[in-house]
Symmetry: C2
Subunit: 288 residues, 2 copies
């Protein structure tokens, strides 16, 4: 057990065993060889050789690629080769402020191994004994990590919303946080990782926000994502990350980042401090 | 101008134009080719071939290496090939909690391109309009970066002291901070970089601490390192980092890290947020 195991687990991807997804000369994703074989079926959309997947030469605008991928997505879903489409549109880009090379349904993102962004909100109460964190328990019917502990609010970053507007939306939907309070959230870090799942690569970047909430504020589940909320000392949350697998896989890193920034890990005492600080951004350059 | 230029400037090292310093099979440093030629003079200490510098096979203990290097250091200083020895003993290691492979005078560290550690203390006053930072102006007679702005307290990390004890010592020496207050400093991050200077490589790691001080606390210069102190809004300090070269080279990164952690950079507004968060740890793995 220990904190570093989460860093290692979330950065165990093996880029050598994958097709590169190359767009405009830039590697944007990593695709499992087996899935690349499915993509080879769509010869009017993809050109595949030398373990690289590219759009065919006619598809050189964001609009054309987006349209072609939408058709491919529907067909893959119909044939049962990917999970059901979610209707959430994500942009394909290697840096958050880059223009989108194209747009695609959220479900396709991990099959193509594209970088995805999310917002995570550490809702906390300041006390004389240090911060307490509001943790969400994910609903038992969630597709991903049911029943696991989560940040008070977290969500993927869809296209056409600012991070702040997405945060305000997710705050309202998941925890009944009023907009006036959500606006007080402060951007404080990014946490990046590059993991591999059964579907593909996941080189993700989470924008983390700290939101100090009043002692009398109580988050309430709204949209079915969260079963319940609990307020625990941040030190206790960190110990749970260290010694259990009670947290959603990537939320472990957000809790470690919070604990580190708030002085709850002492580099004189915990020999992993240096490796943790480095490891929280281990996914910064997934494709080099 | 801009914030990212500091990240780029402090990570512009070119490891390909250097000898590797290999100890116990591990690359621990990078040595300019010209300086490696000087080391070749000490055939009883160093074996050099294939652009690698190693200790000769007889020198396989920390004690034996430390003794041999002390003699080499004195001889190099006597011959005018390095600056004067400082009498501060640094450990050679690639991670803070590793055992020291050997010890050496601080002056030799950059010629051998070893990783060095330091502690930097962000002394700040919390106000309703955000944090204000106490900045030091370095004395005009300093060898390194005279007259430049510095953190309230900062110092290299010598051997045989904990980070906390070094912080308390530097707080007293540089800014007359009482031990009771210095103990309230919270470890919050590391900032790493890998730069090159005229003497050699500098793959450094700074342990950063935030120290909230009372409004009526005023730091006072003690040991001649600091000429004066000034209290400025952290936002203003960040703007000075962005638009001027008033800060000591590596303090720029510590101020950016402070501003980022305290919510003073908005990722919706500043497109460099993501690259800054990644770049503040760009020196994590200097030798791979």
């Amino acid at each position: 057990m220990g904190l570093l195991r989460h860093i290692h687990r979330l950065n165990a991807a093996d880029p050598s065993a994958a097709h590169r997804f190359v767009v405009d000369g830039q590697t944007m994703g990593l695709i499992h060889d087996a899935f690349a074989a499915h993509l080879a079926f769509y010869t009017k959309v993809f050109a595949i050789d030398d373990r690289q997947v590219r759009f065919v030469s006619g598809l050189n605008s964001s609009e054309a690629r987006t349209g072609a991928l939408a058709e491919v997505g529907h067909d893959l879903a119909r044939r049962g080769l990917i999970g059901r489409l979610r209707g959430e549109i994500y942009p394909a880009k290697n840096a958050f402020h880059d223009p989108a090379a194209f747009y695609l349904d959220r479900t396709l993102v991990s099959y193509l191994g594209l970088r995805a962004y999310g917002v995570h909100v550490n809702g906390f109460v300041a006390t004389p004994d240090g911060p307490w964190l509001w943790l969400a328990r994910r609903a038992p019917d969630r597709l991903v990590e049911p029943d696991k502990l989560d940040n008070m609010v977290a969500g993927g970053q869809p296209a056409h919303l600012s991070l702040r507007d997405n945060l305000i939306k997710e705050c309202a939907e998941e925890a009944d946080v009023p907009e006036s309070l959500a606006r007080a959230a402060r951007p404080v870090s990014t946490v990046t990782y590059h993991m591999e799942t059964t579907t593909g690569h996941k080189p993700d970047c989470m924008f983390c926000y700290d939101l100090e909430v009043p002692e009398n504020f109580i988050p309430r589940p709204q949209d079915g994502e969260v079963a319940s909320f609990a307020l625990v000392p941040a030190r206790q949350a960190l110990e749970m990350v260290r010694t259990t697998d009670a947290f959603k896989f990537n939320v472990t890193l957000v809790v470690i980042d919070f604990a580190l920034r708030h002085g709850l890990i002492d580099p004189d005492v915990d020999p992993s401090f240096e490796a943790l600080a480095a490891g929280l951004r281990a996914g910064d350059q997934p494709f080099t």
